[in-house]
């Protein structure tokens, strides 16, 4: 995989965590992949061994979404959901986000922005946390507590993963 496609984490504001990633596809497809349940449940799965039995999306301002993941072997479930605050197809979605068993206090606000250029789409996902401490810790401890080794492993992983692998 090209380095340009590597995931980037940044912190422009004191309560924000921003993920940036580019995709070799037009924006409409990336938008569809985030908003059509039959597409969302094919990639938004987390670690191997999890599936997404519940994926409900009511894509309109004030509409709700609900995701539930389940571990294929032991049946463990993990759920989250929220409400859409802004929907501008195919470029912008703002929604609240709350895990059933949240590790951070309060609700987070997620903003998805898609920008297309020469057939490539850059995705920017901004999470805005209610607790600054949680956000700070996510990034700063990541940078300062010697995680270089895991970055290297990640880089190896990226280098060894063939593009266009189908599930």
């Amino acid at each position: 995989m090209k380095n340009a496609a590597a995931l980037k984490l940044t912190t422009p504001g004191e309560r924000e965590l921003v993920t940036t990633r580019s995709f070799d596809a037009p924006r409409q497809l990336v938008f569809d992949a985030h908003t059509k349940p039959e597409l969302v449940r094919r990639w938004l799965l987390g670690p191997p061994g999890w599936s997404m039995p519940v994926c409900e999306i009511d894509l309109r301002v004030g509409g709700k979404y609900r995701y539930v993941w389940q571990h294929d072997r032991d049946g463990t479930k993990m759920g989250m959901g929220g409400v859409y605050r802004e929907v501008v197809a195919p470029e912008r979605i703002v929604n609240t986000e709350k895990f059933d068993e949240a590790w951070y206090p309060g609700e987070a606000l997620g903003t998805l922005v898609l920008v297309e250029r020469d057939g490539q789409t850059t995705l920017t996902y901004t999470m805005r946390y209610e607790s600054r401490a949680a956000r700070d810790a996510v990034i700063k401890s990541n940078m300062e507590s010697g995680l270089a080794a895991s970055y290297d492993r990640l880089a190896e992983l990226l280098a060894s993963t063939p593009v266009g692998r189908r599930s």
């Binding site: 990633r21 995709f23 992949a33 670690p47 810790a137 996510v138 300062e144 895991s150 992983l157 692998r165």
Partner: protein, 117 residues
């Protein structure tokens, strides 16, 4: 739920630059409160307050020497927290690699009949 709460305490403790500096110092060996206060322009009570937060989060413990009462790093708890972060990155890299594959498929597959876009 309890594990989640504990992680929260760890993240809150890690959010402060002085406390991260204290942990960095302790990573090279145990130290007394006096020794820890030296490099910082801070009073011992102020350092003690930070240490209390770190102790509550399980990131720092007290050594045996009753007089110096040296503090030392508890790497296990720190590892738990960083493991979470590592999982976060891995999780999203995994998700986006799957999304790459899906997008590739959508691009090359002819539109299904009835899909009017």
């Amino acid at each position: 739920m309890q594990a989640t709460h504990r992680l929260d305490t760890v993240f809150a403790a890690l959010a402060d630059p002085t406390r991260r500096a204290i942990l960095t110092r302790l990573a090279s060996g145990e130290a007394s409160v006096t020794e820890l206060a030296e490099p910082f322009a801070m009073s011992q009570p102020a350092i003690s307050k930070h240490l209390k937060v770190l102790e509550r989060a399980g990131l720092v413990s007290r050594g045996r020497d009753a007089q110096r009462r040296p503090r030392r790093l508890e790497p296990k708890r720190l590892r738990e927290a960083t493991r979470w972060l590592e999982r976060y990155r891995r999780l999203w890299e995994g998700n986006y690699r799957r999304l790459d594959a899906l997008l590739h498929e959508l691009k090359t597959k002819p539109q299904a009949p009835g899909d009017h876009r």
